[in-house]
Subunit: 327 residues, 2 copies
């Protein structure tokens, strides 16, 4: 069983890779677990820290057809397509977003189709496909009406993944990811970057500016649950995905103020003083269009998971990323 | 005011062209009526029968960037993008559908963006963006879940049109067209072709095979109302289109059996004997996924029109296409 992760050097990609190496097997087309013999990590920069002989690090542009043909080969049966330009960047650089988010996905699907082996493709879409006039709670039946280029490009890809699947070219599974928090590392250009920064920076003893007011509702999922869900999406049989398109993943509805309060409970009230409220109109403009509350009946029935409380999310971050101790 | 119609040699394109030439003006960016000085008709074959000096017939491939650059110039302020591969053909030839339906639209939008003059773009989408598990009546809030390549490609284009509009690159207006009946001319490769054939052929004294059972519900709009709606979509200010995406056009819900009965009332019961019921699984497979009933509150509020009865549609067809007399 050969596996490909695009965006394999990124935070989620690398975390997924480590989890897959530990798990050691994935379901093949018949649903039978097969040992992972090769795990290719494609990214613009080389994925670091993988000494495992199964890992094949490839650097290259995911929007380049030749590069994709090198990694999407007929022996690759499982593809996790995570490579993307984030929301803020796709909004600021329209062409870059179209190329990386839309064209790359198209090329990847076409290459998989050409191979003729109908690989399972887990595609990471986003709750940013929702926007505009929305119900108080987004349901599985709520239409995608993206109000940003990132969400538009991801929604278009969902349609391609569904149609390539219906045609039998691939076995696709699209997941709409909530805002992931707490992301380790540096702030990125996602408009939702603050949802990690307001926890990560204070836990490292650093000030974090929050560009949205405390009562802003967000729909969040921890990295730990996200990785579980990506693997679960691969392992499920195709019935739950057929004909219905992308799945809204479960998550937690929480205000930004409550997130900071959870940090205070877990890591001490002092951490809360490191959050500075400083509204940023450009960020608010995008974030305001995203829904903050969902009813995810379909995902729940399919066995996708979410965090029990944000306190647990903060605790897990401290354990996994800070060696058990906040600064 | 320079105007472009892609698919300008097709039945709808040519009909729209004649109507625009008669009308003589269209709204400019500020909403003011301006005389149409040039009307370019782009199609694979030369549009026939236009002696008007304003008409500029261009033959070429709508998926060719050079051809598009020739016709989508900075002086073109109004674009009606009708060129498409129909449903049955897009299903049979996946690559052709992707190229003509998706790539051409992308190229056209990119060219318009490059020109920097923010033209009004009327994009013809389709009710085939709906499919699968649907409510008994499709509402404006029903999500697009296409179950065919044609509908998938059109739905992806709707997302592009919306995002290009939101970004200020164009002023886009997407309409989801019902099944158009009665189309003159020959049967085409649309899975819905029968919805015209069962009326057109008998009125010409020719037998027509109907591939779906008489109780099949369809959502139809006459060519006359379709053209009115295309022009209306151009002339409206952008407020009704902003943020909400494509508009479901109004239509008539009718069973195929009722359509044939209407023909019998208008043109004599003998015509009904020329319809032969002969189910075709490939056609039924696509048609079954399309919705047959809608509530189009948004389109109604925006002033889009539909036919009062199918009897009127048959009468209009006989007047417009048969010189007032069925065979």
């Amino acid at each position: 069983m050969e596996v490909l992760i695009t965006g394999g050097a990124g935070f989620l990609g690398a975390k997924l890779a480590r989890q897959l190496l530990e798990k050691g097997t994935l379901a093949d087309a018949s649903g039978k677990q097969q040992p992972i013999t090769r795990l290719t990590l494609l990214d613009m920069v080389a994925a670091q820290g993988f000494a495992d002989p199964r890992v094949n690090v490839v650097t290259g542009d995911v929007s380049d057809a030749t590069t994709l043909a090198r990694v999407v080969t007929p022996s690759v049966q499982a593809i996790f397509h995570l490579a993307a330009v984030v929301s803020g960047e796709a909004e600021a650089d329209f062409d870059l977003g179209m190329r990386i988010n839309l064209d790359s996905t198209r090329l990847l699907l076409e290459q998989a189709r050409k191979n003729g082996n109908r690989p399972r493709v887990v595609f990471t879409s986003t709750v940013a496909v929702f926007g505009g006039d929305m119900p108080p709670k987004v349901l599985d039946s709520t239409p995608a009406t993206p109000q940003g280029s990132y969400g538009s490009q991801k929604a278009a890809c969902e349609l391609l993944v569904s149609d390539f699947t219906r045609k039998g070219f691939i076995d696709g599974r699209s997941l709409r990811l909530p805002t992931i928090s707490v992301r380790p590392g540096k702030a990125n250009k996602a408009a939702s970057s603050f949802a990690s920064g307001i926890i990560r920076e204070p836990l490292n003893g650093v000030v974090s500016e929050c560009p949205v007011p405390p009562d802003t509702k967000v729909w969040v999922l921890s990295p730990r649950c996200t990785i579980k869900n990506l693997i679960h999406a691969h392992e499920l049989d195709s019935a739950g995905f057929a004909r219905k398109g992308a799945v809204n993943l479960p998550g937690l509805t929480i205000t930004v103020g409550e997130m900071v309060a959870a940090m205070g409970r877990v890591a001490g009230a002092d951490t809360m003083n490191l959050v500075q409220w400083k509204e940023d109109e450009a960020v608010m403009k995008l974030v305001r269009t995203w829904p903050g509350d969902f009813v995810t009946e379909r995902a729940n029935a399919m066995g996708f998971v979410h965090d029990v409380s944000f306190d647990d999310v903060v605790t897990a971050y401290i354990e996994e990323e800070l060696g058990g101790k906040a600064a």
